[in-house]
């Protein structure tokens, strides 16, 4: 089989995968980005239901939960990234939550590995995953807990100054073009 032909066949098969998922979850929007990459966006309240559908449709592994802080829009974008061994395809499941009251149900019982990812997202961004018993200081020190350093409004420079005070004499507030 020729190279181009095989790619076309793969894309048609992917469209079928996306259609099958959307048929079972009509609230979701999905599309094929390119070969081996598909994307879905769902409302936040349907998260658990949708991930269950995804798992039954052949996306066995939850690879990562990425949080992107869109400060201007006042929203967190969560990307649940999944890999399917059956279809050899990576799926992005995107959803948005309000920044000031970020709450989501846990998906630990569907994908046990989510426990670790949720602990990390909770610590760095302050998102509450209801039902996860292990949220708390994980990677950071207890004194840094609840500062949520990966939020866009957390300034690394002022935090360093607060902790190290006068010892950190390289820091000059009048300068604006530091790259640290």
């Amino acid at each position: 089989m020729e190279e181009g032909n095989r790619e076309e066949v793969a894309e048609v098969a992917l469209n079928d995968v996306v259609d099958a998922v959307i048929e079972r979850a009509p609230y979701a929007q999905g599309k094929v980005i390119r070969e081996r990459r598909v994307e879905f966006s769902i409302p936040a309240e349907k998260l658990r239901d949708f991930l269950r559908v995804m798992k039954e449709s052949g996306f066995e592994m939850l690879m990562q939960i990425t949080v992107v802080d869109w400060l201007k829009e006042g929203k967190f974008e969560l990307v649940y990234q999944m890999w399917s061994v059956t279809h050899s395809t990576h799926a992005f499941v995107r959803l948005e939550v309000q920044r000031d009251d970020a709450r989501l149900p846990t998906v630990m019982d569907i994908f046990p590995v989510a426990e670790t990812y949720e602990r990390e997202a909770h610590e760095f961004f302050g998102i509450d995953f209801e039902g996860n018993p292990r949220l708390g200081p994980f990677i950071l020190e207890p004194r840094e807990y609840e500062k949520h350093p990966f939020r866009k409004d957390f300034s690394t420079l002022s935090y360093v100054k607060e902790i190290y005070g006068e010892d950190f004499d390289r820091y000059d507030e009048s300068k604006t073009n530091y790259v640290i």
Binding site: L62, V85, T116, T156, V179
Partner: protein, 397 residues
């Protein structure tokens, strides 16, 4: 064995931590608490808090965070090309992997066609990194089960790759070599290629020595057989990847299933075993070493294609203000630890809006480790840890 009875944890810190179940509850009459690492040789900047009943582990809590340096946050505050010098520190034994995934993601965002020569060099560098990392792993694993000779040999053979890397890139451990759009320097010359060929040949001849002393040794079998068993469903649910997943019979390899660089043109096999215990994980790694040597041989036979080693783009002349179109991209490669991926979000400025690295140890280093350690003997703890090939820096980042 030393009884740990007086824990030197500050009282207020302990109170706070107890609330979040970070440290275990006070010790009763029969059980005691054992801090395994971060000083322990097997754990490498990582610690496990074990609740012991005699020499059995009743409960284990992974305690990462000793290596957290906030790379993802720092990457948001630096230009695209500067980040290479930062992100490669996420995986110490094979630092080329974070370089490559980040560069692949940025290439995809910009829409660059990386030149053929750069693709060839990147593939060679990744395979060399894999072999150097296997040697590093043998060093750790053999020392854990008491076969120090194999460990010392592996350290010496790794040195050969370090020297080749030094000549190619200028750095021994951290290379800062792969950049978006290509690679930073060309190959030093034909002599370097000959040296690489000799090294591959040499390591290949030494594999049978490793077999005799380590992989086919009854000590290895006695220490690893039936230890830390997982099954297929457990591994998939916990998103275990790499050799650990192939040891439970799932033939998932990024190089085959989501091919990148020259891998579609190369001929190699994905070894799988079905047992899922520590021995299977060790043997899968042994077979993969052989495949990597075979891949490098094929690449050397192919020879580097001509042409530039960096993409020809006018925008590269003003690097610090180089802007990347808005969007997001995910790229991943097969490292010796598993599926290593990067998700890069751009908002159209000269700095990335978000970089998120998926280290394979995030999935098999926390929950999987805690599950496998439950009920294990104390002597098996380092064996399970080393056969999972836990790499703490990619948990902490």
């Amino acid at each position: 064995m030393v009884m740990v009875s007086n824990l030197e944890v500050p009282r207020e810190l302990r109170k706070e931590a107890l609330k979040h179940d970070m440290y275990l509850k006070p010790i009763s009459e029969d059980t005691y608490e054992l801090f395994f690492g971060p000083q322990h040789m097997a754990t490498e900047n990582f610690s496990i808090i074990l609740k012991m009943d005699g020499s059995r582990v009743e409960k284990a809590i992974a305690n990462p965070g000793f290596l957290h340096r906030g790379f993802e946050k720092l990457a948001e505050q630096r230009p695209y090309f500067t980040n290479i010098a930062l992100l490669l520190r996420i995986c110490v034994p094979e630092s080329d992997v974070p370089e490559n995934i980040y560069s692949m993601a940025v290439d995809e965002l910009v829409g660059w066609e990386v030149p053929e020569r750069a693709i060839w060099i990147r593939t060679v560098v990744l395979e060399m990194a894999r072999l150097a990392s296997w040697m590093f792993w043998i060093m750790g694993f053999a020392n854990e089960i008491g076969l120090y000779t194999a460990g010392s040999w592996a350290a010496a053979y790794r040195e050969r790759f370090m020297r080749l890397f030094e000549e190619l890139t200028g750095g021994r451990v951290y290379h800062i070599y792969t950049v978006p759009g290509g690679v930073r320097r060309d190959i030093p010359g034909d002599r370097w290629l000959r040296q690489l060929g000799d090294t591959v040949e040499y390591i290949k001849s030494k594999l049978k020595d490793f077999d005799e002393i380590l992989f086919d040794n009854y000590i290895t079998f006695a220490r690893t057989e039936g230890v830390g068993v997982m099954d297929r469903k457990f591994a998939l649910d916990h998103a275990v990847t790499g050799p650990n997943l192939r040891a439970v019979g799932v033939p998932y390899d990024v190089r085959k299933d989501d091919p990148y660089y020259l891998y579609p043109e190369l001929d190699f096999e994905v070894p799988i075993l079905n047992e899922g215990d520590s021995l299977a994980r060790v043997l899968v790694r042994r077979y993969e070493m052989e495949q990597d040597l075979y891949i490098l041989e094929q690449l050397l036979e192919m020879g580097p294609p001509g042409g530039p080693y960096m993409v020809q783009d006018k925008r590269l002349k003003s690097l610090p203000r180089f802007k990347v179109p808005a969007g997001s991209a995910w790229a991943h490669v097969e490292s010796t630890k598993g599926d290593f991926g990067a998700y890069v979000v751009s908002d159209g400025t000269h700095k990335p809006y978000r970089v998120h690295i998926r280290g394979p140890s995030q999935s098999h280093g926390i929950t999987v480790l805690e599950e496998l350690l439950r009920g294990a003997r104390l002597a098996d703890v380092p064996v399970i840890l080393k056969t999972l090939d836990n790499c703490p820096p990619d948990i902490d980042r």
